[in-house]
């Protein structure tokens, strides 16, 4: 989530005050991402320093300052919108780690671990769906945020299903099973990072 670019997007509609930006940011993301006011002013200060926004205040920080986007700011926003996010290196996923560990800790039933996470994720998806069913019906921003979250959780459940099948197969063919050593060095090689 890029707060600077979100603020630039709001400023591209016209000059705005800091508090107003915070309110519009939260409303625009379906109130799923709260933003504190200190963060707003810190970010605005950085945008001003970098020449992406300018203020018409009397030199002092605070609510009386009004900000507007500059030409360089518009340019930066356009470039950011079209720049793909960094999805090339896998994130160090806690759930992936847990399943990898469950597969090699003696006396642990990895299927049971997977099942517990699957149920938890389904419950989470039920909650998001209730939100979609209720408030998000008339709130496009919220509907888009909720969809993104549902697709993400759905992908995690599918991965759990695939892991379940792989572990079952590996147990049936122990000679070809290589859960013991392979995953960890491989992750290191890929340079996993957040």
């Amino acid at each position: 989530m890029s707060v600077p670019h979100a603020l630039l997007a709001l400023l591209s509609e016209g000059p705005k005050y800091g508090l107003q930006l915070r309110e519009e940011f939260e409303a625009g993301t379906g109130e799923v991402w709260p933003l504190n006011v200190g963060q707003v002013y810190k970010t605005l200060g950085r945008l001003e320093r970098d020449g992406l926004a300018e203020s018409d205040g009397n030199g002092q920080d605070g609510p009386q300052k009004r900000y507007r986007i500059t030409a360089a700011g518009r340019e930066a926003l356009a470039v950011w919108l079209r720049t793909p996010p960094d999805l090339t290196s896998p994130p160090r996923d806690e759930l992936v780690m847990k399943v990898l560990v469950a597969a090699r800790v003696p006396g642990t039933d990895a299927h049971e671990v997977i099942q517990a996470h699957r149920l938890y994720l389904l419950e989470l998806m039920q909650q998001w769906t209730r939100l979609k069913e209720g408030e998000a019906r008339d709130d496009l921003s919220l509907a888009l945020v909720v969809d993104a979250e549902l697709f993400r959780l759905d992908a995690v459940i599918r991965w759990l299903d695939a892991a379940d099948v792989r572990l079952t197969r590996a147990a049936a063919e122990p000679l070809r099973s290589s859960t013991a050593a392979a995953p960890v060095p491989q992750l290191r090689r890929l340079g996993a990072r957040r």
């Binding site: 989530m1 707060v3 109130e31 799923v32 991402w33 709260p34 933003l35 963060q39 099942q115 699957r118 149920l119 994720l121 389904l122 419950e123 989470l124 998806m125 039920q126 909650q127 998001w128 769906t129 209730r130 939100l131 979609k132 069913e133 209720g134 408030e135 969809d147 549902l150 697709f151 959780l153 759905d154 459940i157 599918r158 299903d161 099948v165």
Partner: protein, 253 residues
């Protein structure tokens, strides 16, 4: 006879569907296939239940047994409190026509009939007078927002509209139990969500529904999700907290 399961929308604790220790076996040794093994399950009026599981896990068998289209090898099935095993075939057929509604993956609308005629069909087959059946069919179309398409034929409807008509047909009259097998068919995800919303709304009006799906996003519409694996129920969701807890708790970086 109420089961230990949680869920529902706070309607009365009447179990519309009850399965007790239900098993289903196909074929003989050594090629015996155990499609269901000791399944205990109850669904209350107003509750939407989703059944998930990999292919071959017994999802569809569960649905055909619940719909009295097939008998279990052992165990007991009750619909609205009535034991199916003790019921003569003609009474079972009547139950299927009056109490149970079906929604299929490929909609199964009859091409030579209009939307209104399709929706009224189960009542007409049950001997309800045509004008009365048509009125009920129209009311069902109305509830699903497709009354304006009443005189169109299936091939003149969009995929989403066709599925609405199929749901109207499934709930027409006074159905108590809705059985759906992958009800969103090949619809895109936004239209598929609409189908689930409509089924969920039918439940809020008091119908009990069992929806079989492999899609977690669709299952998440249900009040309760049960997981099936190799014919056994292996888990179910607890009643999740309200959606309010999702809001305003995340940090922005």
């Amino acid at each position: 006879m109420s089961g230990p399961e949680q869920g529902g929308n706070g309607h009365s604790a009447v179990n519309v569907l009850e399965l007790r220790d239900v098993s289903k076996t196909y074929g003989r040794e050594p090629d015996k296939v155990r499609a269901l093994v000791g399944v205990d399950l109850s669904v209350r009026a107003g509750e939407m239940l989703a059944v998930m599981g990999p292919s071959g896990s017994g999802k569809s068998t569960l649905l055909t047994i619940a719909g009295s289209l097939e008998d279990p090898t052992s165990g007991e099935v009750r619909v609205c409190g009535m034991a199916l095993a003790e019921m003569p075939e003609d009474r079972k057929a009547r139950l299927r026509r009056r109490v149970i509604g079906y929604v299929f993956q490929d909609f199964n609308l009859l091409p030579g009939l209009t939307a209104a005629e399709n929706a009224a069909l189960p009542l007409e087959l049950d001997g309800v007078a045509v004008p009365k059946a048509r009125a009920a069919g129209l009311a069902a179309l109305e509830a699903l927002g497709v009354a304006g398409r009443a005189s169109r034929f299936p091939d003149q409807l969009s995929g989403g509209e066709r599925q609405r008509v199929a749901i109207a047909r499934a709930v027409v009259g006074d159905r108590r139990l809705l059985l759906a097998d992958e009800p969103s068919g090949a619809l895109d995800s936004v239209n598929a969500a609409d189908v689930m919303r409509l089924l969920h709304e039918a439940c809020q009006r008091g119908v009990a529904a069992v929806v079989v799906t492999h899609d977690a996003q669709l299952a998440a519409w249900a009040d309760r999700v049960v997981l099936l694996r190799d014919g056994r129920l292996t888990g179910q969701t607890a009643r999740p907290p309200g959606p309010e807890s999702l809001l305003m708790r995340r940090e922005v970086r």
